[in-house]
Symmetry: C2
Subunit: 353 residues, 2 copies
């Protein structure tokens, strides 16, 4: 089905072949999932059966699990690039597009082969931005697992505990419940570290009065989730409560506006407007959200400069955040399914302790 629709696109665009080398895209088309650094090459043409070229150590698994394509295993010692050249030559193609290659491989190919060879990752990403029912069920599960993680993390936060111990607790809770791993490096950013949007869990010891930001994702059947909660350890100061309430309001109002047909940048500006009105706009130093799927960052993008229009079947994050030096950081994030007439929040952990 995914092959068919993509092959029709190739035909329409007069692209003779498309080379897929991103392991996530290979999984998307074939159902065969390999470790992230595996050297896979999938050649798709408008008419013929797709060909999946895999290293010998992946052949047995690929041959069993890859659907709707011919699987060719390299012999041990045979060079991937040589076999790929042979396959491409065999196509007698003039125009080949591809998703992702090291620049050195790209340069080799354009030197060796007389073809138009065009980087075009967007062609697959355009398909991936609309999720089908199966994908939505996987993401829904990944979001449930992430919520389990956050709940466990909130319970673990107390003075004297180290950030990485909280990360350990959250990841274990998710993993025991069926998560395959994390969508990205788990963030536990406490106290002064909370101003770092990317504050990966460190050895810092949690203290009373800290703001603690937990940002994590589970994966299920290869699909990601993404959730952030920020809590105060013990009694909040009035400034902490004020900022938490403000960011929560930005999150909530943006969620109400999120719906197919809306411009992504208008959703960003709902949240940004609320923060700006209260004088905090300059501390919101990233976009409101991003698509989530096989990658934790994909299309559409929700930011002031985005040209994207939201569509039924997009899955996006909604994550307003403020990062104020000498105060701390607060971010509240959900993963959200965009529907025809509304948005459904998929991450359902409580917002406050």
């Amino acid at each position: 089905m995914r092959f068919k629709s993509f092959m029709a696109t190739l035909e329409t665009l007069n692209i003779d072949a498309f080379l897929v080398s991103d392991v996530k895209n290979v999984y998307y088309f074939t159902g065969f999932r390999d470790v992230s650094n595996s050297a896979l090459n999938l050649l798709i043409t408008p008419k013929d059966e797709p060909i999946l070229l895999v290293p010998m150590l992946s052949f047995s698994a690929a041959n069993k699990n890859a659907k709707n394509c011919i699987v060719i295993g390299l012999n041990f010692g045979e060079k991937n690039i040589d076999k790929l050249f042979a396959l491409i030559r065999n196509l007698r193609a003039k125009t080949i597009h591809f998703d992702s290659l090291p620049v050195q491989t790209y340069v080799k190919i354009i030197k060796m082969l007389d073809i138009f060879f065009v980087p075009n990752p967007e062609l697959v990403m355009a398909l991936r931005r609309i999720k089908d029912q199966t994908e939505i069920s996987y993401i829904r599960k990944a979001c449930e697992l992430a919520s389990i993680g956050v709940n466990a993390g909130m319970e673990a936060i107390k003075p004297g505990v180290k950030e990485y111990e909280i990360a350990a607790t959250m990841e274990y809770a998710m993993r025991r419940s069926g998560s395959e791993g994390t969508s990205f490096e788990t963030i536990v950013a406490s106290g002064p570290r909370s101003v770092y949007p990317h504050g990966m869990a460190s050895t810092r010891v949690i203290q009373k009065g800290d703001l603690v930001t937990l940002d994590l994702g589970a994966t299920y059947a290869g699909y990601c989730s993404d959730i952030t909660r920020t809590v105060v350890v013990g009694v909040s100061s009035s400034k902490q409560s004020q900022i938490l309430d403000l960011v929560f309001r930005a999150n909530t109002e943006a969620l109400h506006k999120l719906c197919a047909g809306e411009k992504a940048k208008d959703i960003d500006s709902v949240a940004r407007g609320i923060l700006t009105q209260e004088g905090y706009g300059k501390y919101f130093i990233h976009g409101l959200g991003h698509g989530v799927g096989l990658s934790v960052h994909e299309l559409p993008v929700i930011s002031p400069s985005s040209q994207d229009i939201l569509e039924d079947g997009n899955v996006v994050t909604n994550e307003p955040g403020l990062y104020i030096e000498n105060f701390g950081g607060v971010r509240i994030e959900d993963t959200v399914l965009v529907k025809k007439d509304r948005a459904e929040r998929l991450t359902d952990a409580p917002y406050f302790l």
Copy 2:
């Protein structure tokens, strides 16, 4: 120190500037570590102070933690590529090499700027293959953590337990002890799945008599480790014992031969020779090992076609494996430090239950 030696190399090679975009390389040079998908650009020239360009949301952390360079934060909304163009133009450079970029960015740059722009990731990887004392201490710690994980996994293996539950137990044990995450997707491949070298932990239920391969890595201060053990659940069959002993012998003999000055391919052939002599060579479908450092796969490569010579300060894996359809798979792997006159095994989990 790392900057200085690299800048001297640039001068010697008449390279006017080097653009580093791989976040691991940025960490290697500056000590600033960001999440893996962050858009960082580090410009190094032979003479001037290096410039690190970061998105606004990474500025606060980069400004605090990046050493020996000027940190420039993009304003929110400012395009990375525009600022990068301005910085490159300002250098008035003729020849710029780089480590890693999307092909689309590469194509844009060679179209827009009148420079020789050359992919050359090897120049940094050549530095990274020799580890200094600090790096060795980090890898040593990552290996200790991985061994803790394997020990916990071996205890958890029993009939009725699911593969991913064993993965959860191992990852939690490592994380609680200070691991920052996993070097790669944890492999728990049991029964018929043990023939998959990349058999990521699934929902399969462990059964009596299964071969179970555990392959995992911890990370510490950004540095990786890599260890594999294969065990039998309950009493081994004589064939299982025979194959386990054989692979163990290949691992042990290769370790004895591992030493600075040796050709990497000769170490591979020690292990491969033992397996081949017993008639199992064709089931050893990958190289014997790979370098380990900030990446779990780096230089040198230990395989039949490798041209690498082992050097004092290399850290490599030693991982013979046999994958036999209708029987199962066995792999035994250690992370090993290459020294002047011998090799030191850094992963010290027991080999058998």
